[in-house]
Amino acid sequence: MNIPENLKYTKDHEWILVEGDVVTVGITEFAQGELGDIVFVEIETEGEDLDKEEVFGTIEAVKTVSDLYMPVKGKVLEVNDDLEDQPELVNKEPYEGGWMVKIQAEDVAEFDALLTAEQYKELIG
């Protein structure tokens, strides 16, 4: 299972790449494997200010649908438009082409609460 060391994680199986006060968010390799083939990623919150743990989008697999949660409070700066036509990128390259949103965090202190790669590894056993 690929769990890159340079990323942070949440218990909702999202990964977070921190660059200053901007974070890039996607779902982990474990999460995409559990969901199976992904057919839509719907994110209609571009430009919105959302609280931590608020839903910023949904991800639909053939068999199931799952909400996507804000890992930190902030503004949704950018949405990965490639997922519109190629949702399978989330399955194929969850940590690269499958990224979902970039968020401008309101309070970088919130980053401390995110899980490290090691903590996430323990979480999924």
Binding site: G36, D37, V39, F40, E60, V62, V65, N91
Partner: protein
Amino acid sequence: MKKTAFNSIHHSLNAKMVPFAGYEMPIEYTGINDEHMQVRNNVGVFDVSHMGEFWVKGPNAFEFIQRVTSNDVGKLSIGKAQYSCFPNGQGGIVDDLLVYKYEEEKYLLVVNASNIEKDWNWCIENNTMHAELENASDEISQLAIQGPKAIETLQKLTDINLSEIPYYSFVTGKIGGVNDVIISNTGYTGAGGFELYIYNKDATTLWESIFKAGAEYDIKPIGLAARDTLRLEMGFCLYGNDINDTTSPIEAGLGWITKFTDSNDFIDREALLSQKENGVTRRLRAFKMINRGIPRKDYEIVDNEDNVIGHVTSGTQSPVLKSGIGMGYVKTDQAKFGTEIFIKVRNRKLKAEIVKAPFI
């Protein structure tokens, strides 16, 4: 948790295993779309050993099956199979099943895994004519080999001419080094192919033979998830979703397996005949999404004025059509083919159209 005879094979193939009807079953191997298209285009193998098998034997076997199933067993000759259901005495359905006429006084009933115990009790309870019943579910394994290359794959393994077995017919014989296999031209995918019934002891031998024979078609194991999307593209009912104890076969569009012939005095005959003659208030319908979105079980079906006219019973993204498809009960007056309906997908109202199944 029960295990089928193929359990260690599934694990060795890294299948995603889930509890299903008391069994640990493979839901997915390489991915649902990949597995789905493998069956549509080539050939795939499903372990469906969790299905239940009841033998019905003796001089009263015919009378018993005629009574408990809705289809007309009198129409069944030796070597033929019939799709049918057990009406539940209250206008609903205990289960849907296949009835095989094996010998003059010997039939095989194949029922859903999740209903084995319920069906068995129902059969015992209604066996007032004392047919000989035997629950062989734990001794019999079943493989479904489905897809356009299924026949070529299996033909390499047997001297029986498989092309001479018509749809919904079967023969018993040797295949893949295993004797006395029931080779049935049936399936739940609409892709063509066979279902093979064998004793557990022969299960892995047959699996290995089939995979060797199918190598040139890139044969693959297929999980329960793709089994569901394949059947839904054909508009086949799934018990527990599209039919259950509260849905009648007439409402479900299963009038074609509900035969009101003079000799067929089955449970609920009068009530179902009245439904057939007087009509029903709701109908099971297939629908295709026009807006982008995936319908799922229990989502509301509404009209353009937001009135709830039904509920989704099955839904998915069709891997072939790459759009949402589903089935659900809708009020009869709004059930015409071509009717525009709406599916409440979470907070949104998405447009769909009632269509005739199959979807592809």
